[in-house]
Amino acid sequence: MKAEFMVNDVKYVVEVEPNERLSDVLRRKLGFVSVKEGCGVGDCGLCIVLLDGKPVNSCLMLAYQASGHRITTVEGMGDGTRLHPLQQAFIDVGAVQCGFCIPAALLVLKHLHDTKPDADREEVRHALRSVLCRCGSYIRFEEAFKQVSRR
């Protein structure tokens, strides 16, 4: 079957299997390898992408279900030439350790920043609960959000 969606403002029409997961289509068919998989059952949140601006676990969604929707991955976060302020803040506060959860953490915070730029610490932590980071960079992520919302 055909699925048709916008990924990072570019339109894609792809042939997908009815049981094909959105994460697999993004990774394998369209090459958005920033979308990671850590468990495949919705526990870890590393496969999070934004669907019409909201975070979803792309391993729990079938590709055809995303048809007609707008998808954002970390590849589409900047404006092509400049980093998104959150990306820059992640660098500045030293948030990156192994890097495996960074795309998901960035997207979750982007959603929060878009919807509630003045979110307090508890709200930031609540949002970040959906992404596991075994390196334990949570406080760095929080710092990065704080830095951006101060501006």
Partner: protein
Amino acid sequence: MSEEIARRFREILEAREFLIVGKKVARVDALDAVLGKPLYTADLVSGKTLYVKAVRSKIPHGYIRKIDTSPAASRQGIVKVLTHRDIPGVNDAGSLISDRPLLAYEKVRHIGEAVALVVGESLEAAEEAADHVEVDYDPLPVVTNPRDAMKPGAPRIQDRDNIVTHFKIRKGDVEKGFKESDVVIERTYRTQFITGLPLETEIAYSFLEEGGRITCIVSTQNLYDVYNKVVKILGVPGEKLRVIQAATGGGFGPKSDETPIDVAAYACLATYFTGKPALAAFSRSEAMTVQCKRHPFEITNMVGARNDGKLLAWRSTLIEDTGAYISKGHLVIGRATFHCTGPYEVPNVWADGYCVLTNNTMAGSTRGFGAPQAHFAAEMVLNELAEELGLSPLEIREINMLRPGSLTATSQKIEDDGLLKCYQRAVEASEWEKRVREIREFNRANKVLKKGIGIAMLYHGNTLGPEGDDFATVITYVERDGKVVVQTGLTEYGTGALTSLAIVTAETLGLPLSMVKLERPDTAAVPNAGPTVASRTTVIGGQAALDAALKIRATVAQVAAKMLSANPADLEFRDGLVKANGRTVTWNEVVNQCFEENISLRVVGYYIAPPTKWDPETGQGAPYNQYTYGALVAEVTVDTETGVVKVDRLTAAYDVGRAINPLGLVAVYEGGSIMGQGYALMEKIVHDDGVVINPNLHTYVIPTASDTPDEIRSIIVEVKGSMGVFGAKAMGEIPVVLPAASIAAAVANATGIYIRELPLTPQRVLEELHKSRQ
């Protein structure tokens, strides 16, 4: 000539103020990471690939009577099914000790042991076919308690005694010490299996190059462990295999251990037999079942002190459950036993550490390597002793902590005051006395919520010491555009240590960090650099990077000296310029000149740590070249109705020797603290008669952002060490060591109860509260 110049430059470097070292700089790989660019192994698969799945034992112990692969082999989409009989080389996947077959034969010794491999055209086909390999077992008695395994006549796990190692420390006269003590207490502490849980599971991808060489891309800490083992498993000459480390999503020890060898061998065997690309990756539950875990310990500490608090005698018995195969268990017991008294001076010590085989899943290398268990038991017993003596946790530590001139449990003389400095800074920054008063008031006013404060301290023998050859190699070369490339068999998997190598290189050559690039670890390009473990990459690898950079600098200086009509040793390297006598050439001009004159700017840097000496009969000697010190203050709130422990604040002071990359250190401090908090409060892999019952992230819960303490204060103490680059001390593992000890101490302070078994789950806390009320 060149060597002399390099020596002179080393002196200059160490005398002047650093340009980049110790400054706030971004990691060299941070930009790529926020763009989602790093290519992990799964991201490198292109086109069609075969998938390899292991058939795993469904019982923890039993003879293999028969393996029938035909129902699986005849299924659609299945290319090949392999058992131990098909292995072309040696059926040995043990990382250090050859006790573990890649594919089980004769018997299985733990749940989830690999018995056969299924190679399919799709993952689904391979997974389904794996269920159709029929294995008949004769079950054997299952031994899961190491105490049972130690008994004479216990069923044997391997064809050897279940006690793998008996590690000893004999210092002074411990009986006399107890006799002279005014107070003697004995307590037993227990710790649990946890999993290191890198979020990227084990994964390897292999393909055949033209000319018949197999290339294997793998997620690993130890490039050459994988290479050396897989060459033997395939039975091919060394030049027929190439191993490359892809970007690696976390290590924490397990990726230095057994399972990266397994997946690499699975993929390579499939490519060997079919000539086609093959991918082998663990599912999350597979990883959580078979990945090497943190060893559970039972530690009995008997300690004696005078009324004034001075420790006189210490007896430790440490029993370590290493599971069905040794992995690094024989070394972990050594580190735990060496550190069994914590960072305190005790004149008389007697310790027996036992590494024991059971039918539980394998334990092995996990961040901290025996130190978290040893320190938990040491700090707890010290607090319990202090209470008996009527001393505060601070007083007993001030009386007994290792200071310059103190002798450790192995009678090694301590040279520096790093521990005292960490202690003072942590107590001061946590506002200990003020907090104690506030807590007293809070607890008086609150019936249900109880607050508490606790402190724990550590010393941590640096790098491998007795655990292996402590060397590193780094290849550094300069490209025509002036960029300096650093390539080594040491790996980046999140710690930031390779950024430290880049910083050392840039510092030495007077270049901005952006001029230094890291190249992927690749056995076709770099020699063995030793394992990327034991927090040794900055310390030891940094020395090798310094050696290489100094060699480059010496060569470049000779050419620049001619251009500037100056003496090579007098040149200043700074801001991408080489200066002397008020004249300047740019780095790129000199590099260009080197290329014009056919002067090679490619060198090998090498460092090997001084050998350490100790007597295996008594444990006495100097097992480590230097020590990292630390103190951690934890403040908690205990809900006495639900048993939930909330960590309010952690104040961490660690003596890092020299902060090469302070921004990186903060991430490591915080991250290690949070990982340690998971160990303290929530994580436990549960074996039920040898069967892992919670191999998933919804029943095995790790800390999320919401579990993070309100505040973690990170304090960097710098007391230069004797071994590491520019005085650096080991740091990667350290912050995970103390959270359990300090949080349990804070819980004891809040509730009056010493909970002697980890983790401090709400259920356990409630049970203990209930018991104490009876």
